[in-house]
Amino acid sequence: MKTPTLKSYFFRILPALLLILSGLQVYAGQGGVVATIKKATAPFNDEERVASVPLLPGDTVLVKTKYQGGIFWTETRKDKVERFKCSQCHNNKDVTIAGAAEMAHGDITSVHGGKQKPLSCFTCHKKDERDFLVTEKGLKVDMDHSYRMCGQCHFRQQKDWVGGAHGKRVSFWAGKRVVKNCTSCHDPHSPLFEKRWPRTYSRPLVK
């Protein structure tokens, strides 16, 4: 019998070598994008890095809650409320026009809070604080910061909203974080979205 030369020896262990190599490769490939994400902890300054980040839009306010240690903005509400300020009518003077309440607020139907515990106007609006909202604890809330009002009951949604899992950013992923306010999407008086026809329909795939 011939003694194995170096070359034939190499060929004998080749399958084992290949196995180890492929194993190593699988090991190195493990984790994929999730591992990449976990490793990325350095802050990313998008305002510096992305060339065309926008200026802050005019109709925004700084949110009074911190977002992952940073700050963010939300869309205003007061400028979208017809006839704000409320105290223009709701003041000490008597209202002389007949049917004024119906004329001013007849379009509002309150569908909020479910059948067992429907909300009334006075859950959020108070007689002696016409231009503000008032929380259950008696805290005065500016209408631009309506998220503080909604967050009393919908605290889970509020937490997600602050983080970015509920609601949506306005137009840009980069630059200053501007998100929609609760009232940008939900009518505070009947916040559920109505059923409607979809905008289009799916086409079957052509392969």
């Binding site: 994929g32 940073g70 983080g163 289009t200």
Partner: protein, 332 residues
């Protein structure tokens, strides 16, 4: 010699249409021998230029500016091999061609990826109500063919407990949302380990450094291998010449994104590369009325997408295949 002269011009990348026009006029006035023609043609092919067209080939191929541009387009390289100057040149040609063919002024860009950006997407199954605003916005933004009604996004109406769109209803058309159903959107997931890329014989499709999987439409030979390889039905093929009414066309285009494709070319969602690289949200995200779509930089620890991945229950489709998609589903 004229050919050399023009070759040098091409090398110095003088992208000046007037100059070329003038030169070609000069060349046309000259007598061309067969030998001269051939050697010039060879050089032309070597530099991938239009020397032949603007020289003696005019009679052969028609003298119009359009066919000259088309000819030059044939000789361009794969996008990944182009120098910045070559990219600018082909963009100038494509803009001009769009003007000549359709009379439309487009602005095309080749914006490069931003360093330390890796795009990721999350889809909120609890929030989506099946309104399909995203589908319509995508068709508009990406200049998808109106004739065959190509759509990148599909929305499935799902029974509770179902987890794969295969068992969902992709053909619903009634008022939504329907009680006790949820809606699931599917599009290209921009896999980190994308099988479609491996399948392509011409290297016409690849993953950009910011994670977007793109197609160089002009390098695609239409073999549809990638389509067969994609486990998510993320790709769309142009069986006919795509048709988009000029007044509906999105004029801001990207070479790898929503520029006009041709018959026989593969296309797919590009996370709206023309928008996302400029810091904007993809059209589908912007159009969604329920905020079910979250988009952002996976490498930014403060991004919303990172918040979702950290604090929500997330899953990906067919994770066991190892395609490593950058598209997560989550529930509230």
């Amino acid at each position: 010699m004229d050919g050399t002269k023009q070759g040098n011009n091409m090398d110095s990348r003088q992208n000046n249409d007037c100059l070329k026009q003038k030169e070609s006029n000069q060349l046309q006035g000259k007598q061309c021998g067969r030998r001269e023609f051939l050697s010039r043609a060879l050089k032309a092919a070597a530099v991938g230029s239009a020397a032949m067209v603007s020289g003696c080939g005019t009679g052969l191929l028609g003298s119009s500016e359009e066919s000259a541009l088309k000819w030059q387009e044939y000789f361009k390289k794969n996008y990944r091999l182009m120098t910045p100057e070559e990219k600018d040149e082909t963009i100038a040609r494509l803009e001009r061609l769009a003007k000549l063919r359709k009379g439309v002024d487009i602005q095309m860009s080749s914006t490069e990826p931003v360093e330390d950006v890796l795009f990721g997407y999350a889809f909120n199954l609890t929030r989506c109500e099946g309104f399909m605003e995203c589908v319509a916005a995508c068709v508009k933004e990406n200049n998808l063919d109106r004739k065959s009604q190509t759509q990148y996004i599909r929305i499935f109406e799902m029974e509770p407990g179902e987890m794969t769109p295969e068992s969902g209803n992709g053909k619903y058309f009634h008022k939504v949302p329907v009680e006790n159903h949820f809606y699931m959107g599917v599009q290209c997931f921009h896999c980190e380990n994308a099988p479609c890329i491996k399948a392509c014989p011409t290297k016409a499709t690849w993953r950009e450094p910011d994670g977007i999987v793109v197609v160089d439409y002009d390098w695609c030979i239409g073999c549809r291998y990638c389509m067969a390889a994609c486990p998510y039905y993320g790709r769309r093929f142009n069986w006919n010449e795509p048709q988009v009414p000029v007044k509906e066309m999105t004029k801001k285009q990207h070479y790898l994104g929503n520029r006009m494709r041709a018959k026989g070319q593969m296309e797919k969602c590009t996370f709206c590369v023309q928008r996302s690289r400029a810091g904007r949200l993809p059209a589908c995200v912007e159009a969604c009325p329920t905020g079910a779509r979250v988009f952002g930089n996976l490498l930014d620890p403060k991004s919303e997408i990172r918040f979702v991945l950290k604090h929500k229950k997330v899953f990906r489709l067919k994770e066991e295949l190892g395609t490593d998609p950058k598209f997560w589903y989550f529930i509230d």
